[in-house]
């Protein structure tokens, strides 16, 4: 029997005037709840200069939350890898892997926001090259004793990462990808493609063909773990679920649209500015336990995804609504899905 796992995605993004101390306490409660309810992982994303939203940074956040959730795998989903220096990233994540007893997942992707590239002294144009050389360097630092390598923006000269990750040979590398060339890169460089939350499932189905043929080309087997991030909300009835989730989710996607996220998405599915009724179709997992279980089972059948990373809170959504939805997902949906597949 195949199993399917569920993870909780913490955006940790809140409105600019929110009391972030209170929100932090709530996030720790969400992590403890997810751990207790049998979620498999906790994901924290990364953005810089995230105005108009407040956000915690990924590395300190994952380091802090691991103390609350001793059983959850910790997914850096994703690291904007083109921005960073491999020496820094390799050593920080090795520390986190050891501190968490080998629970780190290293998610990596390109990034797309100009304000981030500029602040890190780089450009959109350089992002692919930097991404690739950074990933090569990080893997080498994780697995070799001494590394010498000249990159376009760093030089490793007998460099070392003396504290190795606990997972051998290294934490799983998930590569987030929207565009077709990025998916081919995921096949080439990653342990799996981390399928993204923004595109429709029928788009994913089409892109999976690209992924599979790229895997074949590189002589790599289809990964045993295939993760996908989705927006998820469960309530007692489907009407209630939509009534509660829509206002928050539609604002979040307005921000994505303003940030230009959809410019990174493939033709035919690159408009996140459309009306919600249209936007949510075949994209978000929203509804009653029965409905969401059916949607997840169908998603699994259509794509092979077996680790569903659920974003369950959007800016402005109160804690109790998030926790209720988490409980329903774990208590009502997990068993239904496991029975159905």
């Amino acid at each position: 029997m195949t199993d399917i796992q569920f993870g909780l995605m913490t955006r940790g993004q809140f409105d600019a005037d929110d009391d972030i101390r209170v929100r932090f306490t709530e996030l720790m409660e969400q992590a403890r709840t997810a751990d207790k309810l049998g979620f498999a992982s906790l994901t924290k994303g990364s953005h810089y200069s995230g105005y108009p939203l407040q956000d915690f940074q990924q590395i300190p956040y994952l380091s802090r939350v691991m103390a609350e959730a001793p059983n959850l795998r910790l997914n850096a989903g994703i690291v904007l890898l083109s921005l960073h220096k491999p020496q820094d990233t390799a050593e920080q994540f090795a520390t986190m892997d050891v501190m968490s007893n080998g629970r780190i997942i290293f998610g990596a992707a390109l990034g797309y926001r100009e304000v981030e590239f500029k602040a890190f002294g780089t450009t959109q144009k350089e992002r692919v090259q930097r991404f690739e050389e950074n990933l090569v360097a990080i893997k080498r630092l994780w697995t070799e004793e001494k590394v010498s390598m000249v990159g376009s923006h760093f030089e490793l000269m007998d460099a070392s990462c003396p504290t190795k990750p606990l997972q051998d040979p290294h934490p799983p590398i998930w590569i987030g990808a929207n565009a077709d060339p990025a998916i081919r890169r995921a096949a080439k460089l990653g342990d799996c493609w981390y399928m993204n939350p923004h595109v429709r499932i029928d788009t994913i189905e089409r892109q999976l063909d690209i992924y599979k043929s790229a895997l074949e080309e590189y002589g790599k087997p289809f990964p045993t773990e295939l993760p996908i991030r989705r927006e998820v909300f469960v309530a007692r009835t489907t009407e209630e679920a939509f009534r509660i989730a829509e206002p928050y989710l539609s604002i979040k996607y307005k921000v994505y649209h303003e940030w230009g996220q959809d410019k990174a998405m493939p033709d035919g599915d690159n408009d996140l500015g459309q009306a919600f009724a249209e936007l949510q179709r075949d994209r978000f997992l929203i509804g009653s336990p029965d409905d969401v279980a059916e949607q997840v089972a169908s998603l699994h059948k259509r794509t092979g995804a077996n680790h569903i990373i659920a974003s369950m809170q959007w800016p402005g959504m109160p804690q109790n609504q998030t926790l209720d939805s988490m409980h329903l997902l774990a208590e009502e949906v997990f068993p239904r899905v496991r029975q159905a597949i």
Partner: protein
């Protein structure tokens, strides 16, 4: 001495190449819990990259994790190698630590001196001063202004708005670690305090305090409330015993500093960390019986005006039991004596 002495522990988390770092991590968390329970005020984590032949934990994830074990201690980056980093990255990560810890961060920063680190970050020793200065300026602006536009030599902030402001207003305290006189002048101009380093002799520091004071005067700034220094400490029954027990670990640590070239960053007349152990520890490390250690602590207050001591209790290879004993003895046998002596 004007102010009551405050104490912190400085953890390097450095272990030998073959150490089991999972065990090391459990030990470090225990040290933090013990220090918090004993009433130490501050926990400092240092930072080095590519630290071969030593293993260690990285500063920001470490501070992110340890705050859960030490709910009462201030958290000090001691120091961040600021020239290596991008200001937006540091400003946001440190703000996250400040908020998550309930406003307990102190931002310690310094230049760094190791070639392998500069190269790894795509920079050079030559660029380190301008990068340090512009990074610190950018971080302060990001922490306090709504929207920042600033062009640096290696970054560009274009209407950049921080995702999260620090909890402390206007910002966390900034300490600059400095060895050389020029760096001390920079600390006076740019920071809330000069963070006096653990490597130099007290007589060297006495001279440098004058440099610091003159620079403060020139900048029109008052002498700071907090005058922090890092020192190595070991408490035993006698000075001889302390010197003997600390020797295998402390000696090895300073050999590595010398290999790394730390002493090249130190001022003339006190820039050799390759001295024989007995000579090295003279006027530099705080070793001895509780009375002798208390006396040296008081001397730091009287001679230097230091009122925050960040103490290194643990060097590579030292067994955990000895570290905890050292930490506990200092609290129980030394702190009360200092209090009486002041």
């Amino acid at each position: 001495m004007a102010k009551k002495m405050k104490y912190g522990i400085g953890v390097r988390t450095q272990y030998p190449a073959d150490a089991d770092m999972s065990v090391a991590f459990a030990e470090q968390m225990e040290q933090a819990r013990v220090a918090d329970a004993l009433g130490y005020d501050i926990l400092m984590k240092s930072s080095h990259l590519a630290g071969y032949p030593l293993q260690e934990f990285q500063q920001l994830p470490y501070l992110g994790r340890v705050m859960a074990e030490a709910p009462n201690m201030r958290l000090l980056t001691g120091v961040t190698l600021l020239s290596l980093h991008k200001p937006l990255d540091m400003a946001e990560q440190l703000a996250s630590i400040d908020v998550m810890s309930g406003g307990r961060l102190t931002f310690g920063c310094g230049l760094g001196y190791r070639e392998v680190e500069f190269k790894g970050f795509g920079t050079t020793q030559k660029d380190r001063v301008p990068r340090f200065e512009e990074n610190l300026e950018a971080i302060k602006r990001l922490w306090t202004e709504d929207e920042v536009s600033m062009v640096g030599s290696h970054f560009e902030l274009d209407k950049t708005r921080l995702s999260l402001k620090p909890l402390q207003k206007p910002m966390p305290p900034i300490w600059i670690g400095a060895n050389a006189d020029a760096a001390i002048v920079r600390a006076a101009k740019m920071a809330d305090a000069w963070f006096i380093n653990p490597h130099q002799r007290m007589d060297t520091i006495e001279k440098q305090i004058d440099v610091y004071k003159r620079a403060l005067d020139e900048a029109g700034k008052p002498f700071p409330d907090e005058v922090p220094a890092a020192r190595e400490v070991f408490v035993a029954n006698s000075r001889d015993e302390a010197i003997r027990l600390a020797k295998p670990y402390l000696e090895a640590k300073y050999k590595i500093y010398h290999q790394w070239g730390q002493d090249k960053a130190m001022p003339e007349g006190d820039n050799d960390l390759d001295l024989a152990y007995e000579e090295l520890l003279e006027d530099r490390f705080i070793l001895g019986s509780p009375d002798e250690v208390a006396e040296q602590v008081i001397a730091h207050g009287n001679r230097l005006g230091v009122n925050v001591l960040i103490l290194g209790f643990h060097w590579v290879g030292m067994p955990q039991s000895l570290v905890l004993e050292n930490l506990t003895r200092f609290k129980e046998d030394v702190m009360p004596k200092v209090e009486q002596g002041l």
